[in-house]
């Protein structure tokens, strides 16, 4: 991953159009930044591990797509975002919700289909929302969130509220037609939207090279004069710097921008995916050499921002929050039968 990220400046330089932007250097992280990133990413990791357990125990049903491995992407972006900026994503959405500040209890209880879930148990893993936290879902149709996010950005421009919509989608969704319809309108109308393409190398079981003619997703906006660049999505500092640049670009009225986050998911596509399409070595190599949490942890220890004991304390705090969420999600009642017919129409 590091080697791929290194080629980014070169890849940018080869572009002939104005749609090329050089990826910024990774952000300088203070002690507070490092500790915040560590805690946030750890929260997502532990939450997802717990969700996997609860799925195995039968508490979570249906589809469940875990974000493990990709934590640096939403964490870094959220560190760069401003109050009022919106987030919308696809179905691998648990990490985005936690990063947006949604309560782990409410998210976990939605996964278990309980009344205390964000959608009262009626949405499930793939369909959760929080108006309060500016989180617009949680969408189960691959690529649909791209048009929707573009529409939310349309609303920002219409109201001149200064907000930017971070629209996340994967390397798989990047091949959907409506993505390009949206790119065209966003660029035409100079909408404040950042398209965050989370390239985790596999669209379900199909590797990028087997599905995409152009595998450099930062170039996918070229026909629409949307600039883009690639980022090491395993390095939260690189993500934060990219997010700051991209959000500023969109906020300043220059229109949309694409950030390709080169990342990796450790788990299968969903709980039922044994991931036979890649080698165990590939996964192991990524985990041991590029894990986003381990990278932060190593820096914290190296710079003496915290010692092992202090990190363990953070670990325990996070585990306690996740355990509490899991406990709540298992004991909270299912929605009342009367909820069947509510929220269909206002």
């Amino acid at each position: 991953m590091a080697t791929r990220a290194k080629k980014t400046p070169a890849a940018s330089a080869r572009g002939k159009t104005s749609s090329t932007i050089k990826a910024p250097k990774p952000a300088e992280f203070s002690k507070d930044d490092e500790l915040l990133a560590y805690r946030e990413m750890l929260m997502i990791r532990r939450f997802e591990e717990k969700a996997g357990q609860l799925y195995g125990m039968g508490f979570i049903g249906g589809f469940c797509h875990l974000y493990i491995g990709q934590e640096a992407v939403v964490t870094g972006m959220q560190m760069a975002a401003k109050e009022g900026d919106q987030v919308i994503t696809g179905y691998r959405d648990h990490g985005h919700m936690l990063a947006a500040g949604m309560e782990s209890r409410g998210v976990m209880a939605e996964l278990t289909g309980r009344q205390g879930g964000y959608s009262k148990g009626k949405g499930g893993s793939m369909h959760m929302f929080s108006k309060e936290k500016n989180f617009y879902g949680g969408h189960g149709i691959v690529g649909a969130q791209v048009s929707l996010g573009t529409g939310i950005a349309f609303g920002n421009k219409y109201r001149e509220n200064g907000a930017v919509t971070m629209t996340y989608f994967g390397d798989g969704a990047a091949n959907q037609g409506q993505v390009y319809e949206s790119f065209n309108m966003a660029s035409l109308w100079k909408l404040p939207v950042v398209y965050v393409i989370e390239n985790n190398r596999y669209a379900m079981g199909t590797s990028v090279s087997r599905a995409s003619a152009e595998t450099d997703f930062s170039h996918r906006g070229t026909s629409f004069l949307i600039p883009g660049f690639q980022v090491d999505g395993m390095d939260v500092r690189a993500v934060k710097a990219a997010g700051e640049l991209a959000l500023e670009h969109a906020r300043s009225g220059k229109g949309p921008i694409i950030v390709e986050m080169q990342t990796y998911r450790y788990r299968g596509h969903s709980m039922s995916d044994p991931a036979k399409y890649r080698s165990k070595d590939e996964v192991q190599k990524m985990r041991s050499e590029h894990d986003p949490i381990e990278q932060v942890k190593a820096r914290i220890l190296e710079k003496g921002y915290a010692d092992e004991a202090e990190l363990k304390a953070i670990d325990k705090e996070v585990r306690d929050i996740v355990s509490d969420a899991a406990e709540f999600a298992q004991t909270d009642p299912e929605p009342d039968a009367s909820e069947l017919y509510t929220d269909i129409l206002h």
Binding site: Y118, H127, I141, L148, G151, R159, I344
Partner: protein
């Protein structure tokens, strides 16, 4: 032999127009392609080109004449060696006897001059044999209890009523905007958004690229963020590209979010058959969208209903599918002159009272129902005609009350027969009013075929008044 230059039809369904200006005078030489006159319809000014060469022998219709019927001779073209004395010996025009644009162009053919070409199919459907059904300019639509007695009524086309509804709501609410293909600078492919750009500007009247899936999603996103978009589809046929966003995003978000956010918006545009536009441009979506929880589906017939219900739809906090009809756009009805005329969504209107048989219809289906009821009244059978106006939520109580009174039910719609709106009504009526039924319910729909192009086949594919009359006679055992 001198050739008559005929008043051309500038759209498939144009019947008449104004002769705005002659650009030639008697005695002028013209070649084919020369612009000889300008003709105005209610939407556009069009140039008439000569398609033959010769000398303008005589101008038969003066500049400024209004309401000149299609195929009326407007001038005489003299050919080589002829003089004005030969006029009167004109060759029969080569114009299309069916009142439609002739392939060989008669003597004049239109081209757009002002960018406002005729996408519109505004006038009435031209039947295969070319005789337009005489329609009253302001059909009697029955009284509406939602309109106070004594209200002044203004003859208004459905097109104008829809435009007025949007303009009024846009004046009242800054978050309302309209987006779609050709809605702004072109003034609407069917001229429904005419004038809105001038009043509200490009921020609120937004021309989109031809990108239905994308702009439907953009509209839903804007609605989720709190705006109130009116998304115009040039026709709902093209919304097939966008149906995922309409159903998966707009209709389901309120439920999936546990009531936190939804899509307060209107998807509107023409649905159903126009005239001679064949299978891909002629589909009626009433039954399709009526299937989906989380949507409201409105399909007005009259201009008053179009206005009052569109205003209600724009204010509604839910996604509303508003199905218009190209043929109805140009029809004129009385619209009440009220400052804020809003009708309730989900309420049917009894168009005509009667005790012998209930006919339920909506949208353009009402034209068949009304004519059949008039014809049947002449035969002593009094039909109660109910205009549903809203397909979802459906005003079944009004239908069931009527069936309890008449004991008979015929439904009329232009959509496909299987799983039709009529099928749903029949099912509910047999469940809730079985003991009152004196005959099986008959559902009349379009035929179970893609819409054909040929005029005769198109006519066969649509319902007709005779079918409705026969059905009523069958269920009343009158035949």
């Amino acid at each position: 032999m001198p050739v008559d230059i005929l008043m051309p039809a500038l759209s498939p369904t144009m019947e008449e127009g104004n002769l705005a200006k002659w650009l030639v005078k008697e005695g002028d030489n013209v070649s084919s392609g020369d612009v000889i006159a300008e003709i105005e319809t209610d939407k556009a000014t069009m140039e008439v080109e000569a398609v033959d060469e010769g000398v303008i022998g005589k101008i038969l219709i003066d500049e400024g004449a209004e309401g000149v019927k299609v195929n009326t001779p407007i001038a005489v073209l003299l050919q080589e060696g002829e003089s004005a004395d030969d006029i009167g010996k004109s060759a029969p025009p080569s114009g299309d006897p069916h009142g439609e644009r002739s392939a060989d162009g008669a003597a004049g053919e239109g081209t757009a001059t002002d960018g406002n070409a005729v996408e519109d199919m505004d006038a009435r459907r031209v039947p295969a044999e070319g005789k337009v059904h005489p329609e009253p300019s302001a059909p009697d639509v029955g009284s509406d209890p939602d309109i106070p007695d004594g209200t002044e009524m203004v003859p208004t086309t459905v097109r104008e009523a829809l435009r007025d509804a949007m303009a009024e709501e846009m004046r009242a609410d800054e978050t309302v905007f309209v987006m779609g293909e050709e809605v702004a600078e072109y003034q609407g492919a069917y001229k429904v958004t005419q004038g809105l750009l001038d009043e509200f500007g490009p921020k609120r009247v937004v021309d989109t690229p031809i990108t239905e899936h994308g702009f439907a999603g953009v509209g839903v996103g804007a609605a989720m963020s709190g705006l109130r978009p009116i998304v115009e589809f040039m026709t709902f046929n093209f919304a097939m590209q966008a149906i995922d966003q309409i159903i998966n995003s707009a209709a389901k978000t309120l439920y999936m979010s546990g009531g936190q956010m939804g899509a307060p918006m209107v998807f509107r545009g023409a649905s159903g058959a126009a005239a001679r536009v064949a299978a891909q441009h002629s589909q009626d979506y009433a039954a399709w969208y009526s299937h989906v929880p989380g949507l409201k589906v409105v399909m007005p017939y009259t201009a008053a209903d179009a206005k009052g219900l569109l205003k209600a739809a724009i204010r509604d906090p839910n996604p509303v599918i508003f199905l218009e009809n190209e043929i109805l756009y140009g029809q004129t009805f009385d619209v009440p002159k009220l400052d804020d005329f809003v009708l309730p969504i989900g309420k049917a209107r009894i168009h005509r009272s009667g005790s012998d048989c209930t006919i339920v219809s909506f949208g353009i289906g009402m034209t068949y129902a009304i004519k059949a009821a008039e014809e049947l009244a002449g035969a002593g059978i009094e039909c109660e005609v109910i205009d549903l106006r809203t397909i979802r939520p459906m005003d079944l109580p009004t239908v069931i009350e009527s069936v309890k009174k008449t004991g008979r039910l015929v439904t009329v719609e232009e959509g496909f027969p299987q799983s039709s709106v009529g099928d749903f009504i029949a099912n509910r009526v047999q469940r809730e009013a079985f003991d009152y039924l004196d005959a099986p319910v008959v559902t009349i729909a379009g035929k179970d075929v893609p819409m054909p192009y040929a005029a005769n086949l198109e006519k066969l594919a649509l319902p007709n008044v005779g079918e409705v009359v026969d059905a009523v006679k069958t269920v009343t055992y009158a035949s």
